[in-house]
Subunit: 160 residues, 2 copies
C-alpha cells in the first residue's frame, strides 16, 4: 500500500484482533448476565434468544478463520450448547482458537477476495468486519432483552 | 508498518470510510422505517428512542472527525431535529461532512493517541471504530423496537 491519504493503512492485524477479542469479552459478559432460563427461552417479538445469537456468532467466528487461513470453508458446526456453562465454555474455546488461527493469517490475505462458505464473495477484511459487526448488532439486541428483564447490562465501553 | 503478520495492515482509509458509510446508509433506512410518532416516542424498558440514538450518533460523528483533523474537539452540537424529515436531513448533511473531513485525515494520524473531547485517551483508529461500533450497537436496539412494533427492519447485510 502506498502512503497517500486514501490508501493509508488504518489498523494492523494485531490491533484488529485486540478490538474483536475486546468485543467478545463484552459479549461473554452479556451472555453471563442472563439468567439460565431466559438465556435460552426469552426474546422480544419472536426474535431469536440471546443464546441463539451467541451460537450464531460461534458458528461464524472460528469457521470463518479456518476458511481465511486454509481457503477451505467448513460446514457449520453441529454442537449446540444447552446450558449457560457449556455455552461460555464454547465461547472461551473459540477465544483461544481465534488467537491461534489469527496468527496464521498471511499479511497479503486481508486484501484478497474469496467466496466465503461458497456463498459470499468479498475481500477478507470485509468478511471479518462482517463477523464482528454481526456480533455487535446481536449483542445490542441482547441489551434490550436484559433491560426488559430488569437487568442492567455490562457497560458498552468496557472491553477489558 | 513492517510487513510481519502481527503488524500487517488490514484495511485502508478509503475502505474504512466505505464500510462506515455503508453502515450509515443502513442506519438511515432503519430510522426511516419508524413511523414518525414512534421514532420520537417509542422504546422498550425506558431505554432511549431510536431518534435519541440517531442524535447521539450525529453528535459523535462529525465532531469526532473535526477533532481528528484539527486536534480541537468541539462541544456537542445543540441542534436536535424534532421531525423525521429534519433528522434524515441532518443525517445526509453529516454523510457529506464525513466524506469531506475523512479526506483530510493525514496518513500518520490513525496511529496517534489523542484525548478526544478532553476525556477519552486512545488511538485515533480505536476512537473511530468506537463511533462506528456505537452506531451498530444502537441500531441493533432499533431492530428490536421495529420488530416489537410489527415492522420488518431493512436487511442487516445490505450496505448499499
Amino acid at each position: 500500500m502506498t502512503d497517500t491519504t486514501a490508501s493509508s493503512p488504518v489498523i494492523t492485524s494485531d490491533q484488529l484482533l485486540k478490538q474483536w477479542q475486546g468485543h467478545r469479552g463484552l459479549t461473554r459478559r452479556v451472555i453471563d448476565a442472563f439468567p439460565e432460563k431466559e438465556l435460552f427461552n426469552y426474546s422480544i417479538a419472536e426474535l431469536r434468544t440471546m443464546s441463539g445469537y451467541a451460537m450464531e456468532c460461534l458458528g461464524m467466528a472460528v469457521p470463518t478463520l479456518l476458511g481465511v487461513t486454509t481457503g477451505k470453508w467448513p460446514e457449520e458446526q453441529a454442537d449446540k450448547p444447552t446450558t449457560k456453562s457449556d455455552l461460555l465454555k464454547a465461547w472461551d474455546h473459540a477465544t483461544a482458537e481465534i488467537d491461534r488461527l489469527w496468527a496464521q493469517i498471511p499479511p497479503g490475505r486481508w486484501q484478497e477476495t474469496d467466496t466465503a462458505f461458497g456463498q459470499w464473495k468479498m475481500p477478507i477484511y470485509a468478511l471479518i468486519l462482517y463477523v464482528i459487526d454481526n456480533e455487535v448488532h446481536h449483542r445490542g439486541q441482547g441489551y434490550v432483552y436484559l433491560r426488559s428483564l430488569g437487568i442492567e447490562p455490562p457497560p458498552f465501553y468496557d472491553r477489558a
